[in-house]
């Protein structure tokens, strides 16, 4: 090979680099290690984390069973090691699976069209808001405090340099749902979007219909967020939202210390050309066979560059594939039954404690502690090898005496029975 290149040594390939730019020493990194040592390294790191604990954490990342089929499919080299399906003729596997994914997301959310995923639920929010800004020509967003705090933070980072102002409206201290009067007061004709989450961060089914009416009356779009996708198995998708943005981690995506996950944006047909992210469409080949391809690419960065709907390039194809297999395994009845189990587990636990809010909840709820702080309660629970709920003081100073608890189909009765003694 070097002969073909006309060189004596591979170092000649770098001779043209300016001296000032070259690294004149080896990288200060240890030598490579064997496969067995790599596995051992990560086994040791894993041992330094929680192992064998029951967990009641939710708050945007949920513990759900992962059907075995998910990794069986996602580990196939043809899916794992393939690239973005730009060459449709040799990517029909990925394209067909994404088309099925897009369809199922529409069926679950009641929307007309869904994209092939965003990085995650948190970044789907600013993408949805920017989409609403383009559609309405307005520059203000009103977001509920009952939306996941880190999602709100992410929106602020993006909005700051888009000339978008972001304001928050509150929640009712009794029900835990949005404060409609506060929303109404803050609403104006310059608002592009009203953003609510349901079930909200407190786990409560929120007043989406009412929020939609307020938004639409003043020419704003309604963006609905979800973080717990399993809730879609049992909750009727509201008709009011113009854009749905959410997180699919619950659909067989390992919690994995916060990522990689997969977000989605779904919307009405009339808004599709302002949608960010990849879209797969159905078409035919020259012989009339059904085929799929990436489409409406003129929205995207590789065509439109600075006038693109987003800068996004990567989607979360492999993660979306895992979610697709999950949705296929559970199917129409299974998702409902799964959601029903979540409802039962959480309501059993809540029945032994006293929820802080009286709003209707799915699989998460807030409890107020008396006599000890949430942090102290969690310390006591750790001794029983239980990770308790999320103390809310870090996000809601007014709820510093509260924690957010989640129970799913994975929660065991014996562990749930251990909580009241510590938490009430």
């Amino acid at each position: 090979m070097m002969d073909a290149c006309g060189i004596d040594s591979p170092e000649a390939l770098f001779a043209h680099l300016p001296e000032a730019a070259r690294l004149s020493r080896p990288l200060e990194l240890p030598a490579g290690i064997s496969e067995y040592e790599i596995v051992e390294y990560f086994r040791q790191r894993a041992a330094e984390n929680a192992n064998g604990y029951a967990s009641f954490l939710g708050a945007g990342v949920y513990n759900h069973f992962r059907p075995v089929l998910v990794d069986a499919v996602a580990s196939r080299g043809e899916f794992l090691t393939s690239y973005t399906p730009y060459q449709a003729e040799i990517s029909q596997g990925t394209l067909t699976a994404i088309f099925e994914f897009q369809t199922m997301i529409c069926q679950l959310t009641g929307m007309d069209v869904a994209n092939a995923s965003m990085y995650d639920g948190s970044t789907a929010v600013p993408e949805a808001v920017m989409m609403a800004a383009r559609l309405t020509g307005k520059g203000r967003a009103l977001i509920a405090r009952s939306v996941h705090p880190e999602y709100r933070e992410t929106l602020r980072t993006y909005a700051k340099h888009q000339g978008m102002s972001v304001e928050e409206f509150g929640y009712s201290p009794e029900a835990g749902t949005i404060d409609l009067e506060d929303l109404d007061r803050k609403m104006d004709d310059l608002t592009a979007a009203v953003i609510v989450q349901s079930p909200n961060f407190f786990g409560i089914v929120d007043q989406v219909k009412a929020a939609g009416e307020i938004a639409h009356r003043r020419g704003a779009l309604l963006i609905l967020i979800f973080t717990e996708a399993v809730s879609l198995g049992i909750l009727e998708p509201p008709a009011e939202p113009d854009i749905v943005a959410g997180e699919l981690q619950s659909f067989a995506i390992s919690p994995s210390y916060g990522g990689p996950f997969a977000g989605i944006i779904a919307t009405r047909e009339k808004y599709v050309r302002q949608m960010p992210g990849r879209l797969v469409g159905q078409t035919t080949d020259s012989r009339g066979n059904r085929a799929f391809c990436l489409t409406l690419s003129t929205r995207e960065q590789h065509i439109r560059r600075e006038r693109a709907t987003s800068n996004i390039c990567t989607n979360q194809a492999l993660i979306a594939l895992m979610a697709t297999v999950f949705m296929t395994v559970y199917g129409k009845e299974g998702l409902r039954e799964l959601a029903g189990q979540n409802l039962a587990k959480a309501h059993y636990l809540a029945g032994r404690l006293k929820p802080r809010f009286d709003g209707k909840f799915f699989n998460e709820f807030v409890v107020r502690l008396e006599g000890r702080t949430p942090e102290q309660a969690n310390k006591a629970l750790l001794k029983k090898k239980i990770i308790g709920g999320l103390p809310l003081g870090r996000f809601y100073p007014e709820l510093a005496d509260c924690m957010l608890l989640c129970a799913t189909e994975m929660s065991r009765r014996a562990d749930m029975d251990a909580l009241p003694e510590v938490l009430s």
Binding site: A21, Y41, E89, T103, H161, L318, T328
Partner: protein
């Protein structure tokens, strides 16, 4: 002689919804150990859905067969060379997949107590340190989820620093050879974009740069090596020009596979860059993602990094949220941890010397392809190639055959196409990046295929234009797909 074509599994495959039938199931749930709850009572009757209309119901065996058949219609790195330029389609090591699934890592919840997350935090801290050494930078954030996300983070960091100095400035300079995410990112960060033309040699025009850099310019976004696969020989001078006017140099690290162990961006004047772990560091593309786009910065930008940051607290790691100059979060939680694990596994496997060897092999492979294809394809720029080579279709265009056609014909020879029509400064570009993964037998098979196609273009151009012939579908009608979009299945 075509060496890689065989008959291929191909069926008319129904979509899940078309093979669905009521009552089929593929799931099992344990029995409830608590009493069931009436959904209407718990959630309010108006909130309970009657069903998920047209959601599929199939059996487990139907599910596994469906997805297995779908997978056979994909081309993947596991099949053979994937010469997409700037995508760095190297082998995705399977040990990465195993370690990412280690239970204590895969099931870690981002909010679990820090004392019970030390393993995750150590992995992240170790990777931050290694990436800083590789790039010659002072601090690294692992929060961004992909390259474009890293670009946005990087530009926001620049903006924050300039704002603190009193003036965020108005525009970002982007070479005309840049990847589309660069200008798209600048726009999202609230900057106007000004294009900088390349020289006749396809390089950054530093005299032009000197003329246009003023106090309105926040930064230049550069890719090095550039999208022609050529090292920007004037990069140090470019950095000086920018710094003299208080502007910054952002580097798109998509082409780091040409630099690891050879040259470090921090040493040649870069202030901030992003890396693509799904390119240089072997994490799998998975059909289009996930990725991870860490951002590495010089000390001056460190205070502005996304929050939280890892800090050492006694003998333990802790998350530091008290960063008052931070640009904020660019996403929830800490980053694509599962992707970070895979990248660290790759780095541990190679080690320092191994990473450098990979770079050398990647550049040697690209130069071998260049030398052997030069007699057949037009080389628009004579500058030395690093890890990728860009040809143009000028010779074949004389017969009415374009780069896109050649790419489709390459599929019949058993290869995935190279990158077509990018960068835009080359008319009819063929961008080829073999990576270090490929040995001579695969490279020779690719080269032989490309030579064979060049000959076919001379003898029978229409034959090439009507390719591919051996795929599950013939060329798909992308025009109708865009004009009359059908983006979901509907019950007929």
């Amino acid at each position: 002689m075509i060496t890689k074509v065989r008959n291929h599994l191909s069926q008319n495959e129904a979509l899940l919804f078309e093979r669905s039938s009521p009552g089929k199931k593929a799931y099992q749930l344990p029995d409830l150990d608590v009493p069931p709850v009436d959904a209407a009572a718990a959630l309010g009757a108006e909130n309970v859905r009657t069903g998920i209309q047209d959601f599929p119901e199939v059996s487990e065996v139907e599910a596994i067969r469906h997805f297995t058949r779908l997978s056979t219609w994909n081309y993947a790195i596991d099949h053979g060379m994937y010469p997409l330029g700037s995508c760095t389609m190297k082998y995705n090591p399977r040990v990465n997949e195993l370690v990412a699934r280690t239970e204590g890592l895969a099931w870690a919840h981002p909010y679990q107590p820090e004392a019970l997350a030390q393993g995750c935090m150590e992995v992240m801290a170790r990777l931050e340190g290694i990436l800083a050494e590789i790039t010659g930078m002072d601090a690294v954030t692992l929060q961004p989820s992909a390259g474009a996300h890293g670009e946005l983070t990087g530009i926001l960091l620049i903006r924050a620093l300039l704002e603190k100095r009193g003036d965020p400035r108005k525009k970002i300079l982007v070479p005309d050879s840049a990847h589309g995410t660069n200008p798209a990112t600048a726009a999202i960060a609230g900057y106007a974009v000004e294009n900088v033309k390349s020289t006749a040699a396809g390089l950054l025009d530093v005299s032009a740069l000197e003329r246009i850099v003023n106090r309105d310019v926040a930064a230049l976004m550069v890719t090095n090596p550039n999208t022609l696969g050529v090292f920007e020989e004037n990069i140090v001078r470019a950095a000086e020009i920018l710094h003299a006017k208080g502007a910054m140099l952002y580097m798109d690290g998509a082409n780091m596979n040409a630099l690891v162990g050879i040259a470090r961006p921090g040493d040649f004047g870069v202030d901030v860059l992003h890396l693509n772990l799904h390119k240089t560091f072997s994490t799998p593309h998975g059909g289009g993602g996930p990725g991870a786009g860490p951002v590495a910065v010089k000390k001056a930008l460190e205070p502005f990094l996304p929050v939280p940051r890892l800090k050492r607290s006694g003998k333990k790691w802790a998350w530091d949220y008290k960063r008052k100059h931070s640009i904020g979060r660019v996403r929830a939680f800490y980053g694509n941890f599962g992707v970070l694990v895979r990248a660290l596994a790759y780095i541990l496997a190679h080690g320092g010397p191994g990473l450098r060897n990979a770079t050398v092999d990647a550049v040697l492979n690209a130069n071998y392809i260049r030398k052997r294809l030069e007699p057949y394809y037009d080389l628009p720029y004579s500058s030395p190639s690093m890890h990728e080579v860009v040809f143009s279709d000028a010779r074949q265009a004389a017969n009415g055959v374009r780069t896109g056609d050649i790419a489709k014909r390459l599929i019949d020879y058993g290869f995935h196409p190279y990158t077509v029509s990018f960068p835009m400064i080359v008319h009819g570009a063929l961008m080829i990046e073999p990576t270090e993964t490929e040995g001579t037998s695969e490279l020779d098979a690719f080269i032989d295929a490309m030579i064979s196609i060049a000959k076919e273009v001379e003898l029978d151009p229409q034959f090439v234009k009507d390719a591919p012939y051996s795929t599950r579908t013939s060329r798909v009608d992308e025009v109708t797909a865009a004009r009359k979009p059908v983006l979901r299945w509907k019950r007929p």
